[in-house]
Symmetry: C2
């Protein structure tokens, strides 16, 4: 297939060697590499032959230096969050592939020092743009990054400015609608499990619930949060449900929804008869539980794909009609709810 010669320990072939082999100047080689129209057909042929013969591959680093652009974008995701970011990454990579961008992957955790070092790495590596999956709007990484005047797309958070766009799902609305529906049918004992790893999302969920309750002349005040002394949501909920019960419990990540389900059942609470459960972020595991957990399907893949597409637009200085892109969610009624 590829005529690459196995050149052990030999330097990688450069544009000069191709030029010599083809009997042209390096400028011409550069032209054919970059698909310039002005090269005569016969010389192009010669060059192309030399290229495949020598197995030449342009040095992206050198190109990057010469052009001051790297065709790579930095991706920053929360550490240990791959179970729910995986799909986002897939979407992102697929689009990146189309537009010939490479992805530099960085993970970030809570530590501030970490934020600084990530930003450092990102800036030093001279990526053309950055995509940040971040739940926290106040995230220092974004603030720091934006100082460098580099195009940024943030996922899962509504923000925008001169060089920042965002792609997200309107969780507030999702929860509002869900709660409204339940309230309308007389269900008022609704609780939301707070997610300390996704503070902003939790805030949105609460906001949606509060709005729905207010519309019904009620007040929402039922956030369940894991105290620090419990090391897992499940263990906490197991205790919690010994003397608590709600008509509807809403959790963010599917692992939390599962914890709710398991904890409830271990306390003999029948789901969905006595208590209904809804998850927000949906992974494939969500539907593998028995009963299957009803949930919103956040379009994770699209979140990634759209973000990357948006970034390419920013990089090409294309007109951007909407700097804050809100994606549609879908509610899937499974076996932990009694909805129709």
């Amino acid at each position: 297939m590829s005529n690459v010669i196995n050149r052990k320990k030999s330097r990688r072939v450069t544009i000069y060697e191709v030029a010599k082999e083809a009997g042209v100047s390096l400028a011409t080689v550069s032209r054919v590499i970059n698909g310039s129209e002005v090269v005569k057909e016969v010389t192009r042929k010669k060059v192309e032959e030399a290229i495949t013969h020598l197995g030449y591959k342009p040095n992206a680093i050198a190109q990057g230096l010469a052009l001051s652009k790297t065709t790579t974008v930095g991706l920053i995701v929360p550490e240990a969050g791959f179970s729910y970011v995986g799909q986002v990454i897939n979407g992102l990579l697929d689009v990146a592939k189309i537009y010939k961008y490479n992805i530099m992957l960085h993970t970030i955790n809570e530590g501030i020092s970490d934020v600084e070092s990530i930003v450092d790495d990102v800036i030093k590596s001279r990526v053309d743009g950055v995509i940040v999956y971040s739940d926290r709007i106040t995230d220092r990484s974004i603030a720091l990054l934006s100082q460098y005047n580099i195009p940024i797309v943030v996922i899962s958070n509504r923000v925008s400015s001169d060089n920042i766009c965002s792609v997200f799902v309107d969780i507030e609305k999702a929860i509002f609608e869900l709660c409204s529906k339940y309230l309308a049918s007389g269900v008022t004992d609704i609780a939301i499990v707070g997610d300390h790893r996704n503070i902003n999302t939790t805030a949105m969920m609460l906001k949606g619930a509060k709005r729905a309750f207010k519309d019904h002349g009620l007040e929402f005040d039922n956030e369940i949060t894991k105290p620090k002394n419990y090391h897992s949501t499940f263990h906490f909920l197991k205790d919690y449900f010994t003397d608590h019960k709600h008509q509807l419990v809403i959790a963010n990540r599917d692992s939390q929804a599962m914890a709710v389900l398991n904890a409830a059942r271990e306390n003999g609470i029948r789901v969905p008869d006595e208590m209904e459960i809804v998850g927000v972020i949906d992974t494939k595991y969500n539907s593998m539980m028995r009963p299957q957990i009803s949930s919103f399907s956040i379009p994770s893949y699209d979140l990634g794909a759209v973000s990357m597409r948006l970034l390419t637009k920013m990089l090409d200085a294309e007109e951007i009609t909407d700097k804050e892109k809100c994606l549609k969610y879908l509610f899937t009624n499974r076996q932990t709810t009694k909805l129709d």
Copy 2:
């Protein structure tokens, strides 16, 4: 914290500007950046002040060009496999951070054309080394890559050569031991669910089972594979278990083990009383099922961490005692087995 001036639309500051600001030559600036010992203390101070004052950050691309090394490594993982590769990536990134390497992420699917283009990208981006998470030893990506004489670490597969090392878990042995134990206790109706996405792992599992059976004077011939016309393992197994039952079913990925569990139960097969189930790859979801699925814990994080460490050794031309690193697994007995 950082004294970076918000320099809108202005070029990034270069080593020249730092040199001018500090009143020294760029060679000297370069020396202090790279921690050379020979710089006099006072000049170093001057330079450092200029650097922080200007908010200078070295251009890694230019450094890469000058040094012909990029301090980035390419990571190639199977597309859509983040649920079980996530931990590997975390381990890898943590170690990469320590050794100051950046990660360029690529995903790969079955298509051959894809392989070529990935290898192309990897070579063009002049990474210092590559880590490939690949189940298939015959993987063309590795073959192609190795032509370029670049250090490679392969995860989850035993291979090695001049510039290739590998880190993996001895699945064959794991299954051998498990089967031996069951066979010794009289359980002989054992089946293994084939995983079309991980052909090599499946082969290892079968090999282990066969060896155990042979040791007991028996022959193993119980691979369950999803026919092409079923779009999910679960749906196939649901039909399969209407007229099949085994004493022990072993599955590779946890999602498959869950499919086994759910399918069995929907056919009224009691687990573990009538049928026991063991999974191989363990994610957090595995233990969220009820009953909790007994499984091997493949040390995913370590797989990544060790691989990255190994790669740094190759890059530093350190002595490598073992080019094929076999990591320990652990069996966790949960609620789908009757073992003690």
